[in-house]
């Protein structure tokens, strides 16, 4: 995964914080993905403007206690999975 790559959500899909569920969900036609805390934190930074490197930098400043290498690996693995699942894509 290249860190200068910019991802965005699949067209028509929406990420949203659901107060009733206490988590982020990814909404798509007639369906929903329930996201855990880290997936929600990463996906809410995928906005079609930040690249992968920016997302990692932002998460490092938000979670300074997390080991830097692990955080980077986690972000890469999650984004790979999100691409596989068709949740996000890059230009």
């Amino acid at each position: 995964m290249k860190d200068d790559r910019i991802y965005r959500l699949r067209p028509g899909w929406r990420l949203q914080w659901e107060e009733a569920q206490g988590r982020h969900v990814l909404l798509y036609p007639e369906g929903m993905v329930k996201l855990n805390d880290s997936a929600g934190a990463i996906l809410s930074l995928i906005d079609g403007e930040r690249n992968v490197g920016d997302v990692i930098t932002e998460l490092r400043s938000r979670y300074p206690q997390a080991p830097a290498d692990e955080l980077q690996t986690d972000v890469h693995e999650f984004l790979d999975e999100a691409v596989q699942q068709g949740w996000i894509h890059h230009e």
Binding site: P11, G12, R14, Q16, E18, A20, Q21, V25, L27, Y28, P29, E30, G31, M32
Partner: protein, 383 residues
């Protein structure tokens, strides 16, 4: 209350995630496979007002519902659809319009899009106008649907088409998928018709034969391979008819589990077909959705497992299919608490086999089935 009674209390159900708003039973088409209630004509003068629908949306959203379907009948018949879509967007719903495409034009697509509609699903009847007319009772509908499918895509929505399959169009499946591919659809649901409401009335004239079904499944597989070879991203979803499955479907993910449907007159149902069951359902005009969901007898009746008959109650799969569909159990056995006869372990499974046999002897053409319209519906309306 003593200690024992307290400890056996049922756990509080989870909040609903899905709200289906059946805005109206009015529809310009007369599809003989419609799942609306037979007596729908009794409610056409008693629809919820715009304000009442807005209140339903607010209550459901506050409870946690997030997916919203606008359906019917034909929801576009309601001139306040745009207002309701706007309200839904503001509340944070993800809203899906489930439509025939009739009543749509480019300008209305733009207005709905601007109001915040997230998704549009258009139904197709067939790959040629003759069959479409025989099934839906309208010739002009065919061209209109194709034009609207293209317009939806041009407006930036994914094109998701729904084709209801039955004996009279399933042999055309190859041409139907070819048409969808030519339209550049993103996803196509090939859904064998669910045998409720008008479709149940016309059951013997709709159910395909096993040979037809197997050919259709093979056609779908062949198209998936072809699309993949050509690098095309068109999803094909094939839904087998219940009467040819060996296990029942997990109807609605369980009764009163995630899904709540509000009918045009405000009746609140655990499933849009449930109205036919021999029980009464609460109404959003009389009670809050919260009370209806958590406390009403109707929503608690088939929740959990306490109601389950044998063989469901001892079955390892009861958490997967929840005993199947209550409407199907009632329609086939007369007992809404029976195991869904689709299940091969049901003592009534022979009813499915005889239904298939009966259907094979029905030689009616599509145009000879009972059309779903107000005139026919009045026959079923109780005084």
């Amino acid at each position: 209350m003593n200690e024992h009674a307290t400890s056996t209390q049922k756990p509080t159900p989870e909040a609903p995630l899905w709200l289906l708003a059946e805005l109206t039973y009015r529809c310009p088409l007369q599809c003989s496979y419609c799942s609306n209630p037979l007596d729908f004509a009794a409610t056409t003068n008693n629809e919820l007002t715009t304000e009442e629908w807005v209140d339903v949306l607010r209550q459901a959203r506050a409870m946690g519902a997030v997916q919203l379907g606008f359906s019917g009948g034909e929801p576009l018949v309601r001139r306040d659809l745009e207002t309701l879509v706007g309200e839904a967007r503001q509340l944070g719903f993800y809203s899906n319009l489930i439509t025939s495409g009739l009543g749509l034009d480019e300008a209305r697509i733009d207005t709905l899009h601007a109001a915040g509609l997230d998704h549009i699903q258009i139904s197709l009847q067939a790959s040629d106008p003759d069959v479409a007319e025989a099934v839906a009772g309208s010739r002009k509908a065919y061209d209109k649907k194709l034009a609207m499918a293209r317009a939806v895509k041009a407006a930036g929505y994914p094109m998701v088409l729904n084709v209801v399959l039955h004996r009279h169009n399933i042999d055309q499946l190859d041409a139907i998928i070819a048409l969808c591919a030519e339209l550049d659809a993103d996803a196509v649901e090939l859904a064998n018709c669910q045998l409720y409401g008008w479709a149940h009335l016309n059951r013997n004239g709709l159910l395909p034969s096993r040979e037809q079904l197997e050919t259709a499944e093979a056609t779908t597989v062949r198209w998936r391979e072809r699309l993949s070879r050509e690098g095309r991203d068109m999803q094909l979803l094939f839904v087998v008819p219940d009467y040819y499955a060996d296990r029942p479907k997990a109807c609605m993910g369980g009764w009163g589990s995630i899904f709540m449907s509000v009918a045009p007159d405000g009746a609140v149902l655990p499933c849009h077909s449930a109205r036919m069951l021999p029980m009464s359902f609460p109404n959003a005009r009389d009670d809050s959705l919260e009370w209806i969901w958590y406390d009403s007898d109707a929503f608690n009746r088939y929740r959990g497992e306490d109601w389950m008959p044998s063989p469901c109650r001892d079955c390892d799969e009861r958490h997967q299919d929840f005993g199947g569909c209550r409407c199907q159990a009632y329609l086939l056995t007369g007992d809404p608490t029976a195991t869904d006869p689709v299940c091969e372990f049901s003592p009534h499974h022979h009813l499915i086999e005889s239904a298939r046999r009966e259907a094979s002897e029905d030689k009616r053409k599509a145009a000879q089935l009972t059309p779903r319209n107000v005139h026919e519906s009045r026959v079923f309306c109780r005084a």
